[in-house]
Amino acid sequence: MSAAAHGTALDAARAVLGRDLSRAWRRRAEILQPLVFFAITVYLFPLAIGPAEQTLRTLLPAIVWVAVLLSMTLTLPDVFAADHADGSLDLLALSPQPLALLVLTKALAHWLVGAAPLLVLAAAMCAVFGVDAYTLRALMLGLVLGSPVLSLIGALGSALTVGLRGGTLLLALITLPMYIPVLIFGTSAARNASLGLPVEAEMYLLSGLSVLALTLTPWATAAALRARLG
């Protein structure tokens, strides 16, 4: 950190990001857990459906999307729960810097730790399962554009349920219905791609959702935190 930048909102945001990332790094064994969960979930489907190669290949993008959704939901309590338990959430809320910016940073940290590795794994698994290159590109682009929405809405859900007993289940109940548009457009893109159709419309819609979530959810998350801490 440079001395000149001290005291600015950006410096506070960088401090938040650095702290969350170093927490993740120091407990890196825990980063693996959602990855393993993701892999198991994806493998459960062939076991349930049967080893029909063609059916599986058509279903795979949808399965990957649902598994990403669930795996990301599992890590959402991390965004605020630990900070609430040790009292550092009070410090965050009392920082003179805009709380919306700080919670946006925490959502970014969640995406970097909880989503980015998942996307890499998802790409690798799809390639191994023989998804064609065009479909894979559409699927991955959809995930890259759509997953920030999941982190942003997830951070909001995490703020709403912070400190509540049975928080994870409640959080899933609140956030999963709001994930539906992303799921629909994301899987629709992959399906179109597998049929050789254009996917621009879905990509625009997913980008639109990302921009909307980026501009609106930080304020809602900040308001939710203030309401919960009261």
Binding site: H6, R27, D83, D90, A93, L94, P96
Partner: protein
């Protein structure tokens, strides 16, 4: 942006309700810079609730609250700029070292530091534990680590919830020294504790919560 107006925290007719029970009502006071307010009272009297309301973390169910002649709502920006807060949970993160904890808190607080992190940690007696993960520190050492925030920054309003918890005699003396110096410098401190505070008696104000009457 700096807030104007004299350093004073004014409460008028505050009402606090937890669940469906009123914790306190009709609470009014004026606390000015240069004073140390000791908030005393039995367990459950509402000390923590009051301090969270004063810090702008929780809303009062009724009444008015002013800092520097401007009304405080939850998250009021002019209050956040002037405030250092030590909560019931000290806000220490176990996986960070003592120094990282302090630097993080200072960058978040954004105020111009009065002392650098290492000097502040030495001042609270943690000079030998800079790089130790905070989870290995004892409860008293964590409390000292939280106090280092108050050493390192120069905010005019201090709110401390039970700062003497887990501290040994020397640690308590440290808190008292800090409070005295802060008040001498014109700052205002509100401290909840039921221990006697050995600070300048001319500056000490005691607010005793009435015993809570069971309905």
């Amino acid at each position: 942006m700096t807030a104007h107006g004299p350093l004073a925290l004014v409460a008028r007719d505050l009402l606090c309700i937890r669940g469906d029970e009123p914790v306190f009502e009709g609470l009014s006071f004026t606390a000015r810079g240069g004073e140390i307010w000791q908030i005393a009272g039995a367990n459950g009297a509402g000390k923590t609730s009051l301090l969270r309301i004063l810090a702008g973390l929780a809303p009062a169910a009724g009444g008015e609250l002013f800092w520097r002649e401007r009304a405080i709502a939850v998250g009021a920006e002019h209050l956040r700029r002037d405030l250092s807060y030590l909560g019931h949970q000290p806000g220490i993160t176990g996986f960070l070292s003592a120094r990282e904890n302090l630097v993080y808190a200072l960058r978040l607080a954004g105020a111009a530091p009065r002392l650098d992190a290492d000097a502040a940690l030495a001042a609270v007696g943690l000079g030998d534990f800079l790089a130790a993960p905070a989870r290995r520190l004892s409860a008293g050492q964590r409390q000292r680590l939280a106090l280092a925030r108050f050493v390192a920054t120069a905010t005019p309003l201090w709110i401390m919830d039970e700062p003497l918890t887990a501290l040994d005699a020397e640690g308590r003396a440290l808190v008292e020294r800090l409070l005295d110096a802060h008040a001498r410098g014109g700052g205002l401190a509100l401290v909840s504790t039921h221990h006697a505070l050995a600070v300048d008696p001319a500056r000490l104000r005691r607010y005793e919560f009435p015993a809570r009457i069971a309905a």
